[in-house]
């Protein structure tokens, strides 16, 4: 074993100069190519729609198809870049490190840290329960744990990449800011409510074994592989939703008359925000499927705050997640969780309808 690691170290030393230089060059070329192709997308989609296919300019079908042919490669390319970048950042974090960092943190600062770490800690919703138990038994305050659990699904790289690609950096930044805000405050309020006794009893009684664990040492090569794996895994999972979402969005874009959403999801009707949340909470979709639809709705007169609220309630609160969390939380705590988060989303929705 010792010998092998020495050989590996030697091999790494011998070749390290060339690969670093080479991979830098390769990376730069890849990013440049990406940039050039990305810049040509509008012309390409227009050309493909009207020159390659016998479709008249100005027709409904043409508008839909051009939209589809432009947005699909654009969004997939952006997702590629964002997921890869976030994947590399994530390789620096593990749930274990995050837990160690958060345990014993004071309430408010802890909520802020937890919400931020929720974005960059690699974590899949299927391990929400072991993570919850791991956090709570290690002395991470309940409210701080919730800040993490709210931020993790709500503010994710797929949502940010899509929002940036379809609606611009301002909307992406607003989403990031308000998502963090809700995660911080909802967690803080849940912490203030002192609901620790509404955690299922077996969680507290669980004897968490302290097993030895080897700390992994990652090289930059490993991190790039990690980022690439994230791209394969995440884009491999969401591309079909992206395409379906954009197709639905394209249909709305070309065929639904302007301003038709103004009466339902516009600014004028006060009930539109709570209505959107009520529809959104039980709906279960990922960001990839919902955001292209949302973009099309915005173009047809829906108000940004309402749409933001709808999107957040679809992504952040979902029935399957509640069923999973029910194993560790008593019904009352689940109800409080949903209510607090939904109220936060409601607030954000009204706020943006008011100021924009």
């Amino acid at each position: 074993m010792k010998l092998r690691s020495r050989i590996e170290a030697l091999a790494g030393e011998n070749t390290s100069n060339i690969p670093v230089f080479l991979s830098f060059l390769l990376g730069a070329t890849a990013i440049y190519t990406w940039w050039v192709v990305y810049g040509f997308l509008p012309e390409l989609s227009s050309w493909a729609t009207y020159n390659l296919l016998p479709i008249e300019k100005g027709s409904h079908l043409g508008a839909s198809l051009e939209f589809f042919l432009y947005d699909t490669p654009k969004v997939l390319m952006l997702l590629f870049l964002v997921v890869f970048g976030v994947g590399i950042i994530r390789s620096f974090f593990t749930p274990e490190k995050t837990r160690a960092f958060l345990s014993g943190k004071s309430e408010f600062a802890g909520n802020i840290m937890a919400a931020l770490l929720g974005i960059i800690t690699p974590f899949c919703s299927c391990s929400a329960v072991p993570l919850f138990i791991g956090f709570v038994t290690a002395g991470v305050p309940l409210g701080v744990t919730f800040s993490f659990l709210i931020a993790a699904p709500m503010v994710n790289e797929v949502a940010l990449g899509l929002l940036y690609g379809l609606l611009g950096w301002k909307v992406a930044a607003i989403y990031l800011g308000t998502g963090l805000f809700i995660a911080i405050f909802a967690g803080w309020i849940i912490g203030r409510l002192k609901l620790e006794h509404h955690i299922e009893d077996w969680v507290i009684q669980t004897n968490v074994a302290a097993l030895s664990m080897e700390e992994e040492k990652l090289t930059w090569n490993d991190r790039i592989i990690y980022g690439w794996d994230a791209v394969k895994e995440i884009i491999g999972r969401v591309w079909i939703y992206v395409i379906i979402g954009i197709a639905v969005g394209a249909g709305i874009h070309g065929f639904v008359p302007e301003g038709v959403m103004a009466s339902v999801m516009g600014k004028g009707s006060w009930w539109s925000v709570p209505f959107s949340i009520t529809i959104g909470v039980p709906m279960y979709s990922n960001a990839a499927g919902i955001i292209p639809v949302v973009e099309a709705l915005l173009g047809k007169g829906a108000a940004l705050g309402t749409v933001l609220a709808f999107m957040m309630s679809v992504i952040a609160l979902s029935l399957p997640e509640m069923v999973i969390l029910r194993k560790v939380l008593k019904p009352k705590l689940i109800a409080v969780f949903i209510t607090v988060v939904a109220t936060g989303i409601l607030f954000v929705g009204y706020l943006f309808n008011m100021i924009i």
């Binding site: 074993m1 593990t94 749930p95 274990e96 837990r99 690699p122 974590f123 899949c124 299927c126 391990s127 329960v129 072991p130 993570l131 919850f132 138990i133 791991g134 956090f135 077996w202 969680v203 669980t206 004897n207 968490v208 074994a209 302290a210 097993l211 030895s212 664990m213 080897e214 194993k327």
Partner: protein
């Protein structure tokens, strides 16, 4: 050798178990592979990324599908 794969039964967990079974077959190591799906038991191991692989009470990896080379290294120690 006692190998435990912790995971509630998601696609990644099944993949991990399959990989381990393959490695055992290829290397011919004597090992007992057990899949742990009970949340309470998983939690009691102190890991919170699933799938996790535990070999003889040592956590080998959490939160991701291990690479085949790594598994080979673990079992042939």
């Amino acid at each position: 050798m006692e190998i435990k794969v912790l995971g509630p039964g998601c696609a990644k967990c099944n993949k991990t178990e399959k990989l381990i079974q393959e490695v055992i077959k290829e290397t011919g190591v004597e090992a007992n592979v057990e899949k742990v799906t009970d949340m309470m038991v998983i939690a009691s191991y102190g890991v919170f990324g699933t799938p996790s692989v535990i070999i003889d009470n040592e956590v080998k990896c959490t939160g991701k599908i291990p690479k085949k080379n790594d598994i080979t290294a673990w079992v042939s120690k």
